[in-house]
């Protein structure tokens, strides 16, 4: 499903992602963990083309972003990938001038050019799926953080993605609202969605993911099954990180 070869990403002089190669089969749930500033968000954003890549190739469902291809050719591939990929952001990024259901409908109307009634019925179904059927007409400002993030997930699902990217989806939430978002994500995982989740929720990573990528300084330092990673981290970096996050 995803094939990454020698991915390199620089911001100016700084090499943020260093020669990353990996492949992710369909239906796999991958949790990406690691210290802040290690390049997790950048890694995710390269996959759907929110960042241009400096070197290497990224293949998603047959569409290839090649750092050596022309800008135009890359852009074309990026659009193709985005149509198959949903993304959920730490800060939700809901459209504040649109209601919950309008947020979910928007891409269906604009990108898929779907008639309004059809888009509405899809959006309403998705809101129901994330437990927000009653909040269709609420504006984001009228929703709690957990509700906003669930709308954001519904918005991403509306395009029927084959791949979902989550960038710390619960980091901006009050602790008591984290559970409702993780629950929706778990259901998605159980439905067989291919997911890459950057998260600091270790318990969730352990229980919901099939695979852990531990990133530090722009490198994937460990790539293991959750049980193996959490019980026997191989590197000093990972051991130290796990100690820090589980300390208190």
């Amino acid at each position: 499903m995803i094939e990454i070869k020698n991915l390199q990403k620089n911001f100016g002089q700084h090499e943020i992602l260093k020669n990353i190669s990996l492949s992710i089969p369909a239906h796999q749930v991958v949790a990406v963990i690691g210290p802040s500033g290690s390049g997790k968000s950048t890694f995710l954003r390269c996959i759907n083309g929110l960042e241009t890549i400096t070197g290497g190739t990224i293949t998603v469902d047959g569409h290839v972003i090649d750092a050596n291809a022309s800008k135009k050719a890359q852009q074309k591939e990026i659009y193709a990938i985005r149509r198959k990929t949903g993304m959920v952001f730490q800060q939700f990024n809901l459209y504040p001038h649109k209601t919950a259901v309008q947020n979910v409908m928007e891409a269906l109307l604009v990108v898929k050019k779907m008639p309004k009634e059809k888009a509405y019925s899809i959006a309403a179904n998705l809101l129901e799926k994330v437990g927000l059927a009653a909040k269709e007409d609420a504006y984001p400002s009228q929703l709690s953080g957990g509700q906003q993030q669930r709308v954001a997930i519904a918005r991403a699902l509306a395009m029927e993605p084959k791949l979902m990217l989550f960038d710390e989806p619960t980091s901006a939430l009050d602790p008591e609202l984290v559970g409702e978002v993780l629950k929706v994500m778990k259901e998605l995982a159980e439905d067989g969605m291919t997911m890459i989740i950057v998260t600091h929720e270790m318990k969730f990573a352990r229980s919901a993911a099939d695979r852990i990528l531990f990133m530090a300084d722009g490198v994937i330092v460990e790539d293991a099954k959750p049980a193996a990673f959490f019980e026997h981290p191989q590197t000093a970096r990972a051991q130290k990180f796990l100690q820090q996050v589980t300390e208190f």
């Binding site: 809901l94 001038h97 990108v111």
Partner: protein, 213 residues
Amino acid sequence: MDLVIENLPFLLKGAYYTLLITVVSMFFGLIIGLIIAIARLKGNRILRGIARAYVSIIRGTPALVQIVIVYYGLVDYGIELGPLTAAYIALSINIGAYVSEAFRGAIQSIPKGQTEAALATGMTERQAMRRIIIPQAIRYAIPPLGNTFVGMLKETSLVSVIAVTELMRSAQLLVAQYYVYMPFYAAIAAMYWIMSTFFTFLLNKIEKRLSVY
């Protein structure tokens, strides 16, 4: 006072032209301003340069000079515009520069995450701009645009120099006819004030209405 009342229909006709010029110039100014703002933010180097030069020149020269250039200056090149047309053109171009600054500020104030969220769902840059960014930016731009509009209402008095009989020139003509100043000038001051206040009130209402979310 009697003189003013006697000539009120004439003054009201002037006020009508003042309003007409304001509204027409604002309308075209909004279109010009939006295009210029987008050119400055999203255009290539040439477009950005042109847009920046336009804003700089317009904001750095008096509106009065712009008006006489459009009306008298263009005659040298065989372009003879009617006074009202010249007023529309000069003031639309003038207001466009201020509008573009209001839009540019508003567009820049929309968080980057909004565009990214839209792109991530498969929208093109242009679709994200049109559907997500501009609708939000317009709301942010309404207070500065309101100020621009009310400012324009007063600025229209400048076109009296090219013989457009708006409110200012209506008073000047009456003064020339009756040889008294104060009643007429006081009357138009009051009329300008009433119009400005009315629009300020209206804009506050619109602003409130739009801030539902």
